[in-house]
């Protein structure tokens, strides 16, 4: 592959540079009106003109995403542990969890806004509801599919169940928790943005909705650009941290 050995940063720059120039040329040639499809240069000028406003709304959305992630991880891991330790939870919790995922988050968004208000909390909950599911499932699988040979070895060394959980099961479940977290990081913004669409007084989703109503399409794209950049950065940051933290899983892709 061309440039396959180069860093992800260079590949991102090259690929987005290429796509942006195609886009710019297309808007120039086709004469498409800017309220339908603004050109990259118009979006860039929207970014620079409204940056203080964008920074404010971005910070609101970013904090919703990050707090939602933390909360979703906590809920997911705690439920996974309970399902591992207590048969009661294994039997009775899973249907409830599946029910919570069967309802589209769009459908419960208005209810959450009604209950938790227009502020931060309703968006955080929305993110958390989306996120806890992949975390719960992957962590629970990691915990329960720990090789019985590892557990038996620990037993012959005289370890009790609590020590086995702490020293064997938890580290053994880390790689699958990491997979869950990678998924969660990517889908976390969905919850936050949907929440802002349904009812908010700040945030990138709110900003996009208002720009749309005023036909300020370039502003919408600017907000979208920030959201996408943040999500990608968050993913690579998470991936970077996880690779150092769960160092014993080796990739087999060349």
């Amino acid at each position: 592959m061309i440039l396959a050995g180069k860093s992800i940063f260079i590949r991102c720059c090259v690929m987005s540079g290429f796509l942006l120039s195609v886009w710019e040329v297309f808007t120039l040639i086709s004469g498409i009106p800017s309220f339908i499809l603004p050109s990259p240069s118009q979006i860039f000028s929207a970014l620079t003109h409204t940056y203080s406003l964008l920074i404010f709304h971005s910070l609101v959305t970013f904090s919703e995403i990050v707090i939602g992630l933390v909360l979703g991880c906590l809920i997911g891991v705690l439920l996974a542990l309970n399902m591992l330790l207590f048969q009661f939870f294994r039997y009775w919790l899973l249907p409830v969890v599946l029910f919570s995922q069967a309802i589209p988050v769009f459908a419960i968004a208005p209810i959450l806004v009604l209950w938790l208000g227009y502020g931060l909390m309703s968006k955080v909950m929305m993110s958390a509801i989306i996120i806890f599911f992949p975390i719960l499932m992957t962590t629970f699988d990691g915990l329960r599919y720990t090789s019985p040979d590892y557990l038996n070895l620990a037993k012959t060394m005289g370890a009790n169940n609590w020590q086995i959980l702490l020293r064997i099961r938890l580290p053994a479940a880390l790689p699958s928790f990491a997979s869950g977290l990678r998924v969660a990081v990517v889908i976390a913004p969905i919850g936050a943005v949907i929440g802002e669409w349904v009812g908010a007084s700040a945030g990138l989703g709110y900003y996009m909705l208002h720009s749309n109503a005023r036909m300020q399409t370039a502003d919408m794209f600017a907000a979208l650009f920030i959201l996408a950049t943040f999500s990608i950065l968050l993913y690579y940051l998470t991936d970077f941290v996880l690779k150092r933290f769960v160092y014993w899983t080796t990739e087999s892709t060349k």
């Binding site: 038996n152 060394m157 014993w248």
Partner: protein
């Protein structure tokens, strides 16, 4: 001094017994090899003695010492399995010290801050010919090296009884031969129960060889095989070949 062991095991009431009221003697301070074909129940026997058989319908085990007193083997054993079972998230040194680290309270220091243990682990690794890998991780090591680390992890527990379940079966012939020599040297004066399906291994390491045999529909028996009175590890020569032929005849492989 001998341990007398009596064991019955059945996994489910709809299945026949794996073995029933099987009795055998294990001499203290010597290596006892239990030989049998795959699937005969020899690994189950070892797991039962190690106390790690789960969900069995009949799980009866009696270990009696010379004075006729029944003992519980649970605190006297260390166990080494077919695969090395090194934890991939721990360094070699941490793997060797696993039995100590498992029982450490959550916020206390790792046991290799205990310098005596640390020294002992490094010394053992050196004795086993892998002194320079203490800080590596298991996925960087070859199969033979991993098994040496597993042996070090078993030995450092310093328990009087060592249970080994085909510990060298996954290794190539050369590595197996040298590890058998090392094991024989390091396991001196320990009571060892070594499960194997390899007649050569039983003859090289066994100071007492028991053969798992099953006649027809009866539950299996463990019968003793008379050994040459040379000391272990026995070298391979023409005389060894004759003994191997004898053992293979007993196993029913050749007539």
């Amino acid at each position: 001094m001998n341990y007398s062991i009596e064991a019955s095991l059945r996994y489910h009431s709809s299945l026949p017994h794996i073995y029933q009221e099987m009795q055998f003697f294990v001499p203290e301070g010597k290596i006892t090899c239990i030989l049998g074909e795959s699937g005969c129940g020899k690994s189950s026997l070892l797991k039962q003695i190690a106390g790690i058989v789960e969900r069995a319908n009949v799980n009866h085990l009696r270990v009696v010492n010379d004075k006729g007193r029944e003992i519980s083997a649970n605190n006297l054993i260390s166990y080494m399995g077919q695969s090395d079972l090194l934890m991939p998230w721990l360094s070699v040194l941490d793997n060797v010290l696993l039995s100590f680290d498992l029982k450490r309270p959550f916020f206390s220091k790792k046991s290799h801050n205990n310098s005596a243990l640390h020294e002992q682990a490094l010394y053992l690794l050196k004795e086993l010919g892998v002194g320079d890998i203490a800080n590596k991780h298991p996925d960087q090591l070859s199969g033979g090296t991993r098994q040496r680390v597993a042996l070090a992890r078993t030995l450092i527990q310093n328990k009087p009884i060592v249970l080994m379940d085909e510990p060298f079966s996954a290794l190539d012939a050369v590595t197996r031969y040298s590890l058998q020599n090392l094991a024989a040297a390091k396991l001196k004066n320990k009571t060892v129960l070594l499960i194997t399906h390899d007649p050569q291994e039983a003859l090289r390491l066994g100071e007492n060889v028991l053969v798992f045999s099953k006649k027809g529909k009866n539950t299996p028996l463990l019968t003793r095989f008379d050994l040459p009175n040379s000391s272990i590890p026995r070298g391979i020569n023409s005389d060894f070949g004759k003994w191997e032929e004898k053992l293979l005849k007993k196993l029913g492989v050749i007539r």
